[in-house]
Amino acid sequence: MAELIKKEREFVVPGDEIVKSMDYLPGRNCFRAGESICARKIGLVSLSGRVISIIPLSGKYVPKVGDMVIATVEDIPGTRGWVMDINSPYKAFLPLSGVRDFIDTNRTSLDKVYKIGDVVYAKIHSMSGFDMIDISMQDPRARKLRGGRIIRINQAKVPRIIGKQGSMISMIKDRTGSRISIGQNGYLWMDGGDEKMVMKAIDLIDTEAYKNGLTDKVSKLLGEPKKPAPAKEVKPAEKPKEEKPAEKPKEEKPAEKPKEENA
């Protein structure tokens, strides 16, 4: 097979030729131009068997069925459901059938269930066409978000923040004691625990996302595990967790383990 012009994990810009050969197939974020396979977005080259893809570094969230997202109620047109903002080029819809409890629309107005501005953790249930995106609250993880705070994250980096089978995000949750829900659409909700440390971990992953040894770097940053935060909102007077007094210095590990991280 022909050799790649742009190597694995090399940075490419749109139009960059990655390989000139019909032996390869264009995967995500690539296109074929004549005999060449070229990049469609800025990102890193990724080869899997014969398929060349580009791991994107930026871009708006493109919904996929099965994704968990953090969605905001934007509008309530009529009695069929709620129009939701999912930070994507198209709006999503939460139909009545997507809500766990039965709603008698003759007796209850929809805004008593969810009103404009309410934020939910929901699942992309179905997509018929690019702009008919239905979400659902039926998944056991789905719920209305109360308390806590929300930060925006680069949706392209979400796979790294979650980690292989959730390993990275579990580590962050355990070590900071914070309750965290991540939306594939580029939002993160957190409540309690060492929130500052959660943000530091997210920043670190954002900068070092595709370098080797990411898990170890994050592990080092997080330090020892903390006690988990109680589910109820803590009163300010209690002051449960301040900055850890003996914080490990953030120096780069000299001998990096060559562990490959695959999102």
Partner: protein, 226 residues
């Protein structure tokens, strides 16, 4: 020949490019070519308003080009002039060939270009910045787009006209180019030149675009790879 700022005939002005200058935008860039400074911001793909202007099978690339009031010798009144409207259109069409608009039916990709300091070659700087902003925003594209103006002064073919050169030149030819696909997406000219000379000026402009393309790639890499 002696140019006003001491450059050689085929030399472009000192150029810097910075990607990611407007945190609120999905993508952004600032391009300085000599004293001409263009800032571009991209928002999108996002909902297209008003609804009746949505295109059913592709995205709308809305390009707005405006000069900031204090960018020129004489103050520019805010609002649109016929000149800026024309530049909006040719800029949009220079960029449209490069973007996979069909990936986002009915949506809008808004490109805002502001010239904050003007010393000739503003539409070229604007296109260079807009192309970077689109790539920065992770919008799927076939290629980047680079742009520069060239002309002929006396006997020499001159690259990147600046200041008074815009008046002295026999022709002012701005050109935009997709460097990988080798396609010209913007071509304008005013002047008085033989067809052979036009060909030479175009070739010079294309060479200039190829140099700018290298800088664009570097600027994108610098922003995303630390």
């Amino acid at each position: 020949m002696k140019r006003e700022d001491g450059r050689k005939a085929d030399e472009m002005r000192s150029t810097t490019m910075t990607v990611g200058v407007i945190p609120n935008a999905n993508g952004s860039a600032m391009v300085k070519m000599g004293n001409t400074v263009a800032v571009a911001a991209v928002y999108g793909p996002r909902e297209m308003h008003p609804k009746h202007k949505q295109i059913s099978d592709r995205a709308n690339l809305n390009t707005i080009y405006a000069m900031v009031p204090f960018s020129c010798t004489d103050r520019i009144r805010p609002g649109y002039s016929r000149r800026s409207q024309e530049i909006c259109k040719v800029t949009r069409q220079a960029l449209e060939s490069a973007v996979f608009l069909e990936d986002f039916p009915k949506a809008a990709i808004d490109v805002y270009i502001n010239i904050i300091s003007a010393n000739a070659g503003t539409r070229a700087a604007g296109i260079n910045a807009a192309s970077l902003a689109l790539a920065d925003a992770g919008i799927p594209m076939r290629d980047l787009v680079a742009s520069i103006a060239a002309g002929k002064i006396g006997d020499e073919y001159v690259l990147d006209l600046a200041g008074k050169e815009e008046e002295e030149t026999f022709c002012d030819l701005p050109l935009a180019y997709m460097p990988k696909s080798k396609k010209i997406t913007l071509l304008q000219m005013d002047g008085d030149l033989s067809p052979q000379d036009v060909k030479k000026v175009m070739e010079l402009a294309i060479k200039g675009c190829e140099q700018l393309y290298k800088m664009q790639k570097e600027a994108l890499k610098k922003r995303w790879i630390k």
